[in-house]
């Protein structure tokens, strides 16, 4: 993880030069790493209840992946990295989280009541977790949506002057 961090840090330092001038080699490497990071983040999300990880960390890893795309290909590349509009992801995340909370309410009258769940995942096998997982999923989506959106607007080229 720390290796990756240095990379991002290094690339942002000369971001001004990088934006709008994507390098071919970097592009390929980044795309490969991007998908690896996505998988890693999902793994973190799923095991979070039992091992280090969870919605926050998982979401942040995806965002780090976005950061890589941004560093490699500028804001155009960043926009391509998420197919759905970021505010939609963001709102859905909040909806999932509050929805989970409300479901508990409907079930037995208490907010955020959790129950045990067993989820079978394609590569990772069966994982024992709880309904709080969905809450964590909401967190994950909010983190992904909001940070992606922020990167989007912070990296936008300036629009022309409105000095007052």
């Amino acid at each position: 993880m720390s290796e990756w961090t240095e990379q991002t840090n290094g690339s942002t330092s000369d971001l001004d030069q990088e934006i709008g001038r994507p390098s071919m080699v970097l592009d390929v490497v980044v795309r490969a790493e991007f998908h690896a990071l996505l998988v890693a983040s999902l793994w973190l999300l799923f095991v979070g209840h039992n091992l280090p990880g969870g919605g926050f960390v998982g979401g942040l890893v995806v965002v780090a992946a976005f950061g890589l795309r941004l560093a490699a290909g500028g804001s155009a590349e960043l926009l391509k990295s998420l197919r759905i509009r970021s505010e939609v992801v963001l709102s859905l995340g909040l909806l999932v989280a509050t929805g989970t909370a409300l479901l508990g309410l409907v079930n037995d009258g208490t907010l955020l009541q959790s129950r045990e769940l067993h989820v079978t995942l394609p590569w990772l096998g069966e994982i024992a977790t709880s309904s709080a997982f969905f809450f964590d999923l909401g967190v994950y989506l909010v983190v992904v949506g909001s940070f992606h959106w922020l990167l989007e607007v912070f990296s936008e080229p300036e629009s022309e002057g409105d000095f007052e």
């Binding site: 939609v88 909040l94 037995d108 009258g109 907010l111 959790s114």
Partner: protein, 492 residues
């Protein structure tokens, strides 16, 4: 029926999420906001009745009983303030529909709803860290709202507002760290039990630290200067809801923490001294200003002083008076800001030098202002009089003559500055900041209706002051002696 207690928090958040998805359609956003706030209001009213019947209502979130989980608690104090706040929020929302469309960028609705949720959570939570979170929820929404539109003065004074509040929040966190280090818990009821055996000096030190933290949020002397600089730059509906709710959130938390947790804490004299300075400096600031919004902003500060008196006295009558005063202030202050908003929209400015003679053109608005101003100046038979009367009675029976003398002098000065607004805006030669007559736009009736509704609420508070004050006394009794509260929360 613990479901009710969570609705005022969860409904607005849910609506905020959907509202963002619906950002293309202003109408559906509006409908959604109204539905969410009305739903919360209905829930809170039912909650109030339940509290009235069976004492503090507690909901252990997730089924984890306190101090293990977060407890949401509605006692009389929180239920009363919640109801009044949500009524106010609803009228401001309606007002905003009539306000200039520029205010209603799509971000307005989600942010406004989140603000509502944050404020509701602050009133309902029984957990110190959760209180911090609720403050952040409300504050970040307020940061968004105060800078909505990105005008130059909004950004400049928004920076002041944001930075000061972040600093306060960080100290809030610091306070929580100290508390947790000393007692290993953040639940109000649990803390209340544990603080009893704590060392006196540490307890007072913590009580004072939280006095400054919440006092700064509430704009108490000497940490108030940020408020009159930052509030006036926001648009009318926004500053109206800030004025009504945000500082009261600080006062609420102050009273809640200092009484339920610190049990009075032995800081009464300091609170009274600060209350006196807050009243005086606030009202002098108001007199020095020449703009309706700024005058009103300074009055927020001044009135905070009144609310602190009851806490300083720390008697049942005193706390009941404070609760009564808060209940009266929320709608009155908000309606005054709504009036100032309507003035701004109709006459182009709220600077006293540039408007005048509006009474003849906008008689209804003048009447609304007159009623609300008389109320805030504490003139009978309006709600402010009941609030003031209860404070004066409580103070005199506790033989705190000095603070009451100060409060009465400040009351005259308040009258003076309200008369100044009246005389400068509604009397005199007709004048506006724009060419021609006052601008009566399509949304005018909506704005007037919302203002009227809120003023009607303040009058209702005056008319039904008897039963309402009885509820305040009940709230105060639970604040002075939190046994019932603790028993309800700890499940004993």
């Amino acid at each position: 029926m613990n479901v009710l207690i969570i609705l005022p928090v969860i409904l607005p958040i849910l609506a905020a999420a959907i509202s963002t998805l619906l950002k293309a359609s202003r109408t559906s956003q509006r409908v959604l906001s109204i539905l969410a706030v009305t739903g919360s209001l209905v829930a809170s009213i039912i909650l109030l009745f339940e509290v009235k019947q069976q004492g503090p209502v507690v909901s252990a979130v997730g089924g984890w009983v306190a101090p293990f989980g977060i407890a949401l608690v509605a006692d009389m104090f929180s239920a009363l303030i919640l109801v009044v706040s949500l009524v106010t929020v609803l009228s401001v929302l309606v007002f905003s529909f009539g306000s200039r469309r520029n205010d209603e960028m799509w971000q307005f609705h989600p942010a406004f709803l989140v603000l509502t949720a944050g404020v509701s959570l602050a009133f309902l939570t029984g957990d110190l860290f959760n209180l911090f979170v609720s403050f952040e929820v409300a504050l970040v929404a307020s940061y968004v709202l105060i800078t909505l539109g990105s005008r130059a003065e909004q950004i400049r004074n928004g920076i002041t507002y944001v930075v000061i509040n972040i600093v306060i929040s960080i100290f809030f966190l610091t306070g929580i760290a100290f508390i947790y280090a000393a007692f290993g818990t953040v639940n109000f009821a649990d803390l209340s039990l544990k603080l009893g055996s704590a060392e006196e000096s540490l307890r007072i030190a913590l009580a004072l630290l939280f006095l400054v933290i919440f006092g700064a949020k509430a704009a108490m002397f000497p940490v108030f200067s940020w408020l009159p600089d930052s509030y006036p730059v926001a648009r009318a509906p926004i500053v109206a809801v800030f004025a009504g709710l945000l500082t009261k959130m600080g006062v609420y938390s102050l009273i809640r923490v200092e009484s339920t947790v610190f049990l009075g804490g032995g800081i009464g004299t300091i609170v009274l001294v600060l209350a006196g300075f807050t009243m005086v400096v606030g009202v002098l600031g108001a007199i020095a200003q020449n703009d309706v919004k700024r005058i009103l902003s300074f009055h927020i500060v001044s009135q905070i002083g009144y609310m602190l008196i009851g806490l300083g006295l720390f008697t049942t009558a005193g706390l009941a008076a404070s609760v009564m005063f808060i209940i009266h202030q929320i709608p009155v202050k908000t309606s005054l800001f709504l009036v100032s908003g309507a003035i701004e929209e109709s006459a182009g400015t709220t600077a006293l030098d540039h408007v005048g003679g509006l009474r003849k053109r906008l008689p209804f608005l003048a009447l609304m202002f007159g009623l609300a101003a008389a109320s805030i100046a504490g003139l009978p038979p309006f709600s402010g009089f009941i609030g003031k009367l209860s404070i004066v009675e409580a103070g005199l029976s506790a033989q705190s003559y000095a603070i009451i003398a100060v409060s009465l002098i400040v009351s005259v000065l308040t009258l003076f500055s309200m008369a100044k607004i009246w005389s400068g805006t509604f009397w005199g030669e007709f004048e506006t900041a724009q060419p021609g007559d006052v601008l009566v736009r399509t949304g005018h009736r909506t704005m007037m209706g919302a203002t009227g509704m809120l003023v009607a609420v303040t009058i209702a508070i005056a008319v039904f002051a008897g039963p309402i004050y009885a509820l305040c006394e009940e709230a105060a009794a639970d604040l002075i002696d939190p046994t019932r509260y603790i028993a309800a929360v700890m499940g004993k």
